[in-house]
């Protein structure tokens, strides 16, 4: 079901009610996570809350940066936060920022700026802001551009990971083992002259597909296991494990951030496409979460992956191929997980102590994390395992 249809299904006006045997593939207000501005807002709120309750997770370092929860690049809403943005921009005038329209996908409408003049239109006091429309379509987020991405073979890439959420309260989510890296077809260069060349900077396949070098056999994609092999071989096992642990951590934290505001309708499940960029210090950054990750295929391998993804997702959401019943306990047996692994199970985490270890080993798997109980003792990221 598409997001438009979901909007109709859950809209107050239509008065439509899902019956017990109907399950849908979106949460009614998924946009709390999947709209760029709302995601950032929720994460900021979540961090402040943790800080207020004195949780060790919200600990900050000497520079005032969150130690464990700094995983979204500095972001502002435009035009609302324009002045705050200008303040931040002036601290680092040589930095590059990326402008993204809140409501669009597939890389549409994105551009990079490195001068304030390039976004004059969004200034609140601007005389040219005659289109100051508060309609969500015109709203943009502006984020600090990660200009030191990890490069492999000189090329920039991002990670697309699939995460299935069957319920938000208690939080139960699964990570698909077969995520992939999307490489830019053109060599990455941070030079300012290339700012306008979208093929260098954006890794969306939709954009790369039209570049001259796009290859239809591999589609510029690498499996996550290739990434792991490369990193282990060139950087070592410990830092690679730490990277993947951090990736799992930021996914779970982002879900926890929106869990309180999510309409946890029992008819719903959702498979998100997480976009993550790794910088050259091997720190992962959450760029965005997609509610309708592309299920079209650009290569033969891709078609197999997406087919299996849909298959495994449905097996978890509605096991045994039986008529769905939204009242079931949403605990699928292990056998139906397919290529999914349990990422976080709040119920299980709270029932067992912090000693419970659900780690699944082997260098090629994504690893399984089990027990970040909300008020547990000081979390050391590498003991996620």
């Amino acid at each position: 079901m598409s997001v438009q249809t979901i909007r109709n299904v859950f809209s107050v006006e239509t008065g439509y009610r899902l019956s017990d045997d109907q399950i849908v593939n979106h949460f009614p207000n998924h946009y709390e996570l999947t709209r760029k501005d709302l995601m950032v807002k929720n994460i900021k709120r979540y961090r402040k809350e943790l800080e207020k309750e004195g949780s060790p997770l919200a600990e900050k370092d000497e520079n005032g940066k969150y130690i464990y929860l700094d995983f979204v690049p500095v972001t502002f809403m435009l035009p609302a936060d324009y002045n705050l943005f200008v303040e931040e921009f002036r601290k680092n005038p040589s930095s590059t920022w990326i402008m993204k329209p809140c409501g669009k996908a597939q890389g549409k409408g994105i551009f990079l700026i490195n001068k304030l003049s390039q976004i004059k239109k969004w200034s609140r006091d601007s005389k040219t802001s005659s289109f100051v429309s508060q309609s969500s379509k015109e709203a943009y987020v502006i984020s600090l551009y990660i200009n030191n991405p990890l490069l492999i073979g000189g090329k920039k890439f991002d990670l697309r990971l699939y995460v299935l959420v069957s319920t938000y309260r208690p939080l139960r989510c699964y990570m698909y083992k077969l995520g992939f890296c999307r490489f830019c077809t053109v060599k990455y260069t941070p030079s300012t002259s290339e700012l306008d060349n979208m093929f260098v900077h954006l890794t969306n396949v939709a954009i790369q597909k039209h570049g001259d070098d796009y290859n239809h056999i591999h589609g510029g994609k690498w499996t996550v296991s290739n990434l792991r092999l490369y990193l282990e071989s060139t950087r070592g096992k410990e830092v690679t494990n730490k990277l993947f642990d951090e990736i799992h951590w930021i996914i779970v934290q982002s879900l926890k951030a929106v869990a309180p505001v999510m309409n946890n309708d029992k008819h719903c499940f959702e498979c998100y496409g997480y976009d993550i960029i790794i910088d050259d210090k091997l720190k992962p950054w959450l760029i965005e979460v997609n509610a309708s990750p592309s299920l079209t295929s650009s290569t033969a391998n891709d078609r197999i992956l997406k087919y299996n993804l849909i298959n495994d997702t449905l097996n978890i959401a509605v096991p045994n191929g039986e008529i769905p019943d939204c009242k079931w306990n949403k605990s699928p047996p292990k056998e139906v997980l397919g290529n999914y692994e349990v990422l976080y199970d709040e119920e299980m985490a709270q029932s067992d102590g912090p000693d419970r270890d659900l780690r699944s080993r082997s260098g090629q798997s994504t690893g399984v994390k089990g027990n970040r109980a909300r008020d547990s003792g000081k979390p050391v990221l590498t003991t996620w395992k």
């Binding site: 060599k187 290859n215 056999i217 092999l229 490369y230 080993r361």
Partner: protein, 493 residues
């Protein structure tokens, strides 16, 4: 630590020097260097033997290699004439500047390569090998089960399974292996943790011989790059980096015809590979320099091949104007770039990547495309493969032969490329661990036979060469070590 001290006495000088070498680590480096030479160079032959014997003792093999080389050179020269492209020319200054700017992204270049063809492909080479005959060997009988039914018809000695079991004893069933005993179901305490610990110790000791022994059981991914460098005795000293930079400037200044062959090969093979496309640019940076590296000429003393000679224009036959072409004497063929591609997973620094590849080439890869009687040469590997198959899977062998699908026709390309591009990268690296560990390519033939054994049931049902190819088209899901172990140690002979 220095010997330049007044306390040094003449009487104890010899001991002092020995002690100094030990403490400064130079003794180990010398040992490693000597060990390296022992691995690479053949044992000295009879003092009266002429130098050709060090290249290749059998006359008919030398002759065959010579004819093959003539053919390749003829093909290269005719392409040259057809396309009116010189073998080599100096680049104009503006082109030099452009290339220097684009050095890290040569993959984005799209020169028109449609008229260039690879000089030869593995299957052309196979035809030559099939026609090899020993003129001193009279095999009057018709081929039967007593003789060899395969494509290779020369009487070279190859090992049988009992001998292979002995040679590859570390792959035995009761010895831990990476690629088997590190799988998800096996607790790491059983083998993996200890093996990693030993590996770290070997690296700390910087002992080549110990490393070579160690990698027979596989390299932990995090240690592999360093272990291979240790075995190949590559330390990436400043003079090595300088040498690489010198080669790079040679590339900038002169354009060679083989450059186009290299571009074409990379575009046809590695650029389309799921694993290696990312490293396309590194491949140019390595292979273009490789073509110009005259130090590679040294390996021709122990290779059956001879570098092609060319003459400066207008001075045909005049020895003072003879040059080797390409400068390193190696003419690339279709798939050559796949020798370099897997190494990109281990080394991201171009000069180190370059040295590792060069050493791998002059130790191992050159044997896969030259005609010789060496046990790791491609001819012996083919014969080993066919013999293993015929001896241990006679029914399968006979069936495939009957339907016109000689097994070697399918496995040849795997062995020529050392399985690069056919196996998943992590499996390939486990295989190459053993090549380094045993200093031999025989494992390629054993693996090829093991793959056939693994898919024997399906192969027995096919009725054409095309169908047989289809059964064996996709090796990317195979796990190399279990296949080898089962074939060598768990098959009833």
């Amino acid at each position: 630590v220095s010997l330049h001290k007044p306390e040094i006495k003449l009487e104890s000088l010899k001991e002092d020097i020995k002690a100094f070498l030990k403490t400064s680590g130079w003794e180990k480096k010398l040992q490693n260097a000597v060990y390296s030479e022992l691995n690479v160079f053949p044992s000295p032959c009879h003092p009266a033997a002429p130098p050709e014997h060090m290249k290749e003792p059998l006359a008919y093999m030398r002759k065959a290699q010579g004819s093959w080389e003539k053919r390749i050179l003829k093909s290269l020269n005719s392409m040259c004439t057809e396309l009116s492209v010189p073998l080599a020319q100096k680049r104009p200054v503006n082109e030099q500047k452009e290339l220097l700017n684009k050095w890290n992204e040569m993959g984005t270049d799209e020169p028109d390569l449609s008229l260039f063809r690879p000089v030869y492909a593995p299957k052309d080479f196979l035809e030559v090998l099939m026609n090899l005959r020993n003129p001193n060997y009279e095999n009057g009988e018709q081929p039967s089960f007593r003789n060899h039914l395969g494509l290779i018809q020369v009487p070279l000695k190859v090992k049988d399974i009992p001998e292979l079991k002995e040679d590859f004893s570390e792959l035995g069933l009761n010895i831990g292996q990476l690629g088997i005993d590190d799988s998800a179901q096996v607790p790491p305490e059983f083998f993996e943790n200890e093996h990693v610990r030993v590996g770290q110790k070997v690296l700390a000791e910087q002992d080549s011989a110990a490393a070579q022994q160690y990698v027979r059981q596989g390299c932990p991914t995090a240690l592999r790059a360093d272990l291979w460098a240790l075995i190949l005795n590559i330390s990436n000293q400043p003079e090595d980096i300088l040498y690489y930079e010198q080669l790079k400037s040679n590339v900038i200044q002169h354009d060679l015809l083989v450059d186009s062959l290299i571009y074409k090969d990379v575009k046809l093979t590695a650029s389309n590979d799921d694993y290696y496309f990312v490293f396309e640019d590194y491949l140019y940076q390595v292979l273009l320099c490789f073509s110009r590296d005259t130090s590679v000429l040294e390996h021709f003393t122990y290779s059956s091949a001879t570098p092609p000679k060319s003459y400066i224009r207008g001075k045909l036959g005049v020895e003072e104007y003879a040059v080797f072409y390409p400068p390193n004497g190696v003419i690339p063929f279709h798939g050559f770039s796949m020798y370099v591609a897997p190494l990109c997973f281990l080394y991201h620094e171009p000069s180190k990547l370059y040295q590792i590849f060069r050493e791998m080439y002059v130790r191992f890869f050159f044997r896969l495309h030259s005609i010789s009687s060496h046990p790791s040469g491609i001819v012996s590997l083919c014969l080993l493969f066919e013999t293993l198959l015929q001896t241990h899977l006679p029914q399968l062998f006979y069936h495939l032969r009957e339907i016109g699908a000689q097994p070697l026709r399918i496995s040849f390309k795997w062995m020529v490329r050392a399985f690069s591009g056919y196996l998943a990268t992590d499996q390939l690296l486990l295989l190459w661990d053993r090549i380094l560990g045993y200093n031999s390519l025989e494992i390629l033939a054993v693996l090829a036979a093991a793959v056939f054994a693994f898919r024997a049931v399906n192969l027995m049902e096919v009725t054409s060469l095309a169908a047989a190819e289809a059964v064996l088209a996709d090796l990317s899901t195979l796990k190399v070590m279990p296949l080898l172990q089962i074939f060598l140690f768990a098959t009833v002979t």
